[in-house]
Amino acid sequence: MGNWIIAPVVLPALLAPLIVLAMRHDIVLQRTFGLAGTAGLLALSVALLQAATVNPPEVYRLGNWPAPFGIVLVLDRLSALMVALTAALALVVQLYVVGTGWDTRGRHFHALYLFQLMGLMGAFLTGDAFNLFVFFEVLLIASYGLMIHGGGAARLRAGVQYIAYNLVASTLFLFALATIYGVTGTLNMADLAQKVAVLPEGDAALARVGGVLLILVFAIKGALVPLHFWLPATYDRAPGPVAALFAIMTKVGAYAVIRVYTLIFPSDTPATGALFADLLLPAALVTLALGALGVLGAASLGRLAAFAAVASMGTLFTAVALFTPQATAAALYYLIHSTLATALVFLVADLVADRRADLSLRRVLPPVAQGGLIAALFFGAAIALAGMPPLSGFLGKLLILEAARAQAGLVWTVVLGASVLLILGFARAGSTLFWKAHEIPPEEAQTHAPEPLSFVAPATLLAAIAVLAVMAGPVTRWLEATAAQIHEPAPYIRANDLDGATP
């Protein structure tokens, strides 16, 4: 694909300022260009996915400076998958935003949205560790704007906490990068992989410190216990569709862990060994348990959705932490599922919030307008997130359990126990919101504008989850090839052309 690798970063980067500068006052133009931009991104990402499937990893050199001195973007199956997933989710969520009119409740929604996508795409594509930091900041600064879209005291307060937390994470990220640079003298990921593999004995301790600092940063992004504190309040207080888009933001943490700890610090590195897997697995299991407990004890639908996101990150990191090709394939399948399902539950929560200001699960309140349809969508989301058949959550958990056969005692107990808690939690929430509500006669007829687009978006997500379950065979075969590529980094390193063999 050559030069097209940078297109997913350039397209939103050009379109977003254009929207701010030229169509600030015209919501129709903003919507048209915003949707066209996201649809263009989706088309681009499908083409990149196609190219990554048939070709070995490819590199785009920024400014044609050779690696490791210049910054490179690398397209391989993993980055292409993440880019395509982001673009697909973004388009669906943006349709919801247009359908519900969320973009008219504040200013510059579509421009911020495109900047957010630019940061996400760059983070998935970059092959340079410092550039990863820069794209993290790009996606974060856009997310700060999106998070407080629409304003309000509670949202602003949660926004300040969210920013403060992430600024600390950014500082840690810089400390980690500087430590790693101090040891190896490079920040290109492929070059790092080569240098860390042959690190002299005396530098091993510093490399371990750098690696652990880095995993802390990614754990903050991925909301891994005990660094998950930012997530429940942020996702609960953020506008519903923004929280749905944020479903991919936690996956940035998971992506970065997969990338860095299979490429730079694989478990056969003499300097670090299995240190990171040993740190990650217990944290992931505790995250899963805590998320499930949170779902069971959530006092409002927003909190329930946020803790369901935490639980799904726990499941995902459990699979990631095993660091075998089979487990990585399972993790990627669950990653796709978890992104779609988490986004779905936030959209459903927003549909309810749009019709009833109070999302409390402690009180039974009168039924909401169009409650039947919303209840059906919630039911689908609950099945998906709890991991029950027939949707893809069940298959994802099955793949993870299969991959964790060696540690069956611990992993199976936690995953299955958490599933029971999740089922209970969702059943309790569903019956309070949609079923018991009918015991209360509504004071006046509940009406709401039909807004068909706002139902099309969650229905599309639910359909995608169903398709992911039906097409599980071909999808897992593709993901197994992806996992094989991830655990065999030689072609990735070769693509960076570190010796400058092809000028």
């Binding site: 509670a154 307060r157 300040v160 906490q161 600024l167 500082t171 240098k195 959530a298 409002s300 999302l359």
Partner: protein
């Protein structure tokens, strides 16, 4: 891995290391405070600390230019200086954002506490807050 360009500089190392340490300690203490202003100051301290740390990761040297020049044999690492510039710009921008957000939250809620959460009923923490004026 990086060849040391200059002789060992124990005095300079002690100064830089203790500066990073002190700034980090002050930053960590301040970000654990309850009000937005000390927390933002703490974040700024942390970013100063990390900027110094990045700079030091290219090795300390004196009288060594980072750019190629006639008749010079020892050079400072130019990459860390570029990294520091990027980090300074980003942390400066982020500090501006959090100052604006903190002001916005203060005007909306009437207090500047950063900890605590409004609880599930969304009162923005106004009932649980209180504290000093």
């Amino acid at each position: 891995m990086i060849p040391d360009p200059t002789p060992y500089l124990p005095g300079l190392e002690a100064v830089v290391a203790s500066a990073v340490g002190l700034l980090t300690a002050a930053g960590v203490y301040l970000i654990l405070r309850q009000r937005t202003f000390p927390v933002i100051l703490g974040l700024t301290m942390l970013s100063y600390a990390v900027n110094l740390f990045i700079f030091a990761s290219g090795r300390l040297s004196t009288a060594a230019p980072p750019i190629l020049r006639e008749g010079v044999t020892t050079y400072a690492d130019p990459l860390t200086q570029a990294l520091v510039l990027t980090a300074i710009v980003i942390s400066f921008g982020m500090t501006a954002v959090i100052v604006m957000m903190a002001l916005g939250a203060w005007f909306e809620t009437g207090d500047d506490r950063i900890d605590g959460d409004g609880g599930p009923d969304g009162d923005g923490g106004r009932t649980g807050g209180g504290g000093r004026p």
